[in-house]
Structure formats: structure tokens, C-alpha cells
């Protein structure tokens, strides 16, 4: 019996000491961690893309729990659905944000924008952009070296070999904005996805005067002002020879698309018109 007694005694002593120390340590070091952080983290997509502006999903979850008002915070990947879930957990109000998607605002493919020289440097838009304006007459347009594609973690972009332009796969794009940051030419923009994924935007960023722009690229915005005039909702402004459509104001009436002499304005996911067949560069994504 003595063995068992000694065993028990030793264990009790050791166990108690250890427990006291461990307990003390727990008291000393453990800072209360809101259990809701875990819950919120669980509903976040775990993409850790940083699109929310925080380093990683957990950090964002913490921020959500901490913040009094979460309506300014958004997980672009999870979108409104996830934010609503998180808001539910936290009993706070989520922002009613419209889903966004990236668009490429340059349509100068190889046919309409002839090359004027050959680029032979390191394959990076950032490097090319710091060297010169580009291998075409347009010093604003896409350089086609794919920094944006490399930046996308979601495989939502690819370079179209034929046009030399990046293409966004809108079903995969989560609007994290990585490509926007990557593009040295500020060609990619996050825009409202729009009802049924329909949206209209000016697919050009050229600020040269009309003639110059036209010479460099057939589909450039020449700043002629026709769209500005025709828009019944005042959604279009022209600055520096370039039209811009405000997606808050645009009602998707498509009048501007028709009047643009260079087809610089793009409509996406609209049913085809009867009169003329629109050549869409974006592949037909099912309107969902």
C-alpha cells in the first residue's frame, strides 16, 4: 500500500505546486480575449488577402469586435453577406455596401493601338512605366506586362494573348483591390458590380487631346463631350480630355454608349441590342 500512498503524496504535492504556478501564470499573462473574435474570424473567408486594410483576417476580426461602428469596414472578399453575418454576431450594423468588381479601363488592343517600338526590359509594368510611356503612341494605356495579374491572389485575372490586355474573370474577382494597387498606370478600378452585374464605364484613361489620342489609339476617349451631353442623369464629367462615369449616378441607360464616336464606353452583361452587334471584349459571364 505504501507505494500507492507515496505516489499519491508526490503527485498531490507536485500537482498542486505546478497548478499554483500555472494558475498564477495564467492570471498574470492571460489578457481576456473576446471570444467573439474567434466567432467572427470563423465567418471570415480566411483569404488573408489584406483587401480589408488589415493584415489578415484575424486582425480584421479583432478590429470588427473593437470598433463601435463597423459600417465603414468591409471584407471585400466575403462582401455584404459575410459582413451581415459578422454584424449579427456582434449585434452591430453592417454597411450596406454594394458589391464591387475590378474593371480594366483600357481597350487599346494590338489592332487599334499600333506598336511604335519594342520593349526589351524586365517584364514588369512598374519597370516599364518608370522607363517610358509605353510601346505605343499612347503614354497612358496598358503596358501589357501583367503586374496586375501577378498581384491577383484569386486567379481572377489573365492576360489575353490576342489583345495584350488583362481580363477580369468577374466570378472570381472579390474586389480586393490588389490589382488596382499593382497597376502603375492606374488603369484598373473597382466599380460597383451593378444590378445583374451590369455596368457601364469609360474604357480609357488617355488624357491627351482628342487628335493626339485618336492617332495613338482608335478606341481612345477623345474628350469630345458627346456622352456628357447625352447623359440624362449627369453621371458623366469630362476633365483633361477624358470622360468619367460616376457609378453612383449612372442609371445604366446606355445612351452614352451609342453616341461615343470611338466606342470608348463599355457596357458589360447587357443583353445584345438588336440594331448593332456590340463587340464585347469581356467574356460572357452569366448574369446572376
Amino acid at each position: 500500500m505504501s507505494v500507492v500512498m507515496i505516489t499519491i503524496a508526490t503527485l498531490v504535492v507536485l500537482g498542486a505546486t505546478a497548478a499554483v504556478i500555472l494558475y498564477a501564470a495564467a492570471q498574470k499573462f492571460k489578457v481576456y480575449e473576446d471570444p467573439r473574435i474567434d466567432q467572427v474570424e470563423a465567418v471570415l473567408p480566411a483569404a488573408n488577402c489584406g483587401g480589408c486594410g488589415f493584415p489578415g483576417c484575424r486582425a480584421f476580426a479583432e478590429a470588427l469586435v473593437k470598433a463601435d461602428d463597423i459600417s465603414t469596414l468591409l471584407c471585400p472578399v466575403g462582401g455584404a453577406a459575410v459582413m451581415a453575418q459578422a454584424a449579427g454576431i456582434l449585434g452591430k450594423e453592417a454597411a450596406a455596401t454594394a458589391p464591387m468588381v475590378a474593371v480594366v479601363r483600357c481597350n487599346g488592343n494590338c489592332d487599334v493601338r499600333p506598336k511604335t517600338n519594342n520593349y526589351d526590359g524586365a517584364s514588369s509594368c512598374a519597370i516599364a512605366a518608370s522607363l517610358y510611356g509605353g510601346d505605343t503612341g499612347c503614354s497612358f494605356g496598358c503596358l501589357g506586362l501583367g503586374d496586375c495579374v501577378d498581384a491577383c491572389q484569386f486567379d481572377a485575372m489573365y492576360m489575353d494573348e490576342k489583345t495584350g490586355l488583362p481580363v477580369i474573370i468577374e466570378d472570381k474577382c472579390v474586389a480586393c483591390g490588389a490589382c488596382v494597387k499593382a497597376c502603375p498606370k492606374i488603369i484598373i478600378q473597382l466599380r460597383k458590380k451593378g444590378p445583374k452585374s451590369r455596368r457601364i464605364f469609360v474604357s480609357c484613361v488617355n488624357k491627351d487631346k482628342g487628335g493626339v489620342a485618336r492617332k495613338a489609339c482608335e478606341v481612345a476617349c477623345i474628350g469630345c463631350g458627346k456622352c456628357e451631353k447625352v447623359c440624362p442623369h449627369g453621371a458623366i464629367t469630362i476633365t483633361n480630355n477624358l470622360a468619367y462615369i460616376d457609378d453612383e449616378k449612372c442609371k445604366l441607360c446606355r445612351k452614352c454608349v451609342e453616341v461615343c464616336p470611338t466606342n470608348a464606353i463599355h457596357e458589360i452583361n447587357f443583353p445584345p441590342r438588336k440594331e448593332k452587334t456590340t463587340e464585347e471584349k469581356t467574356e460572357e459571364a452569366p448574369a446572376n
Binding site: I6, T17, I21, A24, A25
Partner: protein
């Protein structure tokens, strides 16, 4: 001379990580940066030495006299777990800034196999107290040697494009394997 042999053997010939397979988790986990690896080595050395000292005394003063050596596992683990925490508490008490600085730089040391393993090994090897502690220190240095060189290689590999399937754990294991292969050259030094 024995001490020298113990030291050489523990660092090079029977390296804890590369030959004994102890402490693999921190070896794979805390080896992404050289600086952290260096810091970790310092911390592990201290904990290993103190833990070995304590468990050695426990073994010789309690377990063996009372013939309850079968409590070795359970009592050692309790002692070590408590000790690790105790060190932190003491550090925090005596110098909050020092403790804070460590917090910024170092991951916590949790009990890992290497520490328990060394504590048990010195008993198995029948070392005396000083030998045990020297062995513990040398083992920790061996751990550090492996950890730091490994961290260096990983920092370098971070900058190259590895084949897709290999990056992450597989390549870490392959590097460890090659490191172990290289360390086999020390065989028989002791």
C-alpha cells in the same frame, strides 16, 4: 575530457534535432528568420539547463529514494511545465522592460520534446549532476546550431521560386534531411 566529449557529441555527433529527432516542432516552426532562431537558442538553452537541473534533483531526491521512478514521466512534465511559466513570471517581476522586450522578439517557449527528452536522457545515461547540466547546455547549443543554419537556408530559399508542390513543409524537410546527411560526417568524432 569527458565534458568535452559530452559537448562535442551533443552538438555535432548526436545532434538533438538531426540525429535524435527531438524538438522537431520548434525546429520547423521557429526557423523562418535567423534573428528569431538566435533568440530562441538563447531561451531554450536556459530553460533546458534549469529544467534538467530540477528534474535531476527530483529524480535523485524523491523518485529514486522512494522507489517511485515510474512517476518519472508525469512528475517531469509537471515540473517542466511549471518551470517554464515560472521563468516568465520571474522575468516579468524583476524587470518588466526586459520581459517586454523579449515578448516583442521571441515566441514563447512551450514545453517541447527536446526539453523533456533531455531530462529523461540524462537519467538514462546515468550522468552525474554536472554532466547532466553540461549535456543539457550542449544539447541546446546543438539545437541552436541546427536551428540557425536551417533558418539561414530558409531565408535564402524564401527568395527563390521553389517548385509548387515542394514549397513549405516538404522543402523544409528535404533541407533538414540534407543537413542531417551533412552532419553524418561528424560520426565517430567521439
Amino acid at each position: 575530457m569527458t565534458y568535452a566529449l559530452i559537448v562535442i557529441s551533443a552538438i555535432f555527433v548526436n545532434n538533438v534535432v538531426l540525429a535524435q529527432f527531438l524538438g522537431i516542432c520548434p525546429f520547423l516552426g521557429v526557423s523562418k528568420r535567423i534573428s528569431t532562431a538566435i533568440g530562441m537558442t538563447g531561451a531554450v538553452t536556459f530553460v533546458m539547463i534549469i529544467a534538467t537541473l530540477m528534474t535531476f534533483l527530483l529524480q535523485k531526491l524523491v523518485l529514486e529514494p522512494f522507489e517511485i521512478t515510474y512517476l518519472q514521466t508525469i512528475s517531469f512534465i509537471l515540473v517542466i511545465a511549471a518551470l517554464v511559466q515560472l521563468v516568465e513570471i520571474i522575468l516579468k517581476k524583476i524587470s518588466p522592460p526586459l520581459y517586454q522586450a523579449l515578448g516583442v522578439f521571441l515566441p514563447l517557449i512551450t514545453t517541447n520534446c527536446a526539453i523533456l527528452g533531455v531530462a529523461i536522457m540524462v537519467i538514462q545515461k546515468n550522468y552525474n549532476l554536472v554532466e547532466s547540466v553540461v549535456f543539457a547546455g550542449a544539447t541546446a547549443l546543438g539545437f541552436g546550431l541546427a536551428l540557425i543554419t536551417f533558418a539561414g537556408i530558409r531565408e535564402q530559399l524564401d527568395l527563390v521560386d521553389l517548385p509548387k508542390g515542394m514549397s513549405g513543409t516538404p522543402i523544409a524537410l528535404v533541407v533538414s534531411g540534407l543537413l542531417a546527411l551533412a552532419f553524418m560526417g561528424f560520426a565517430g568524432l567521439v
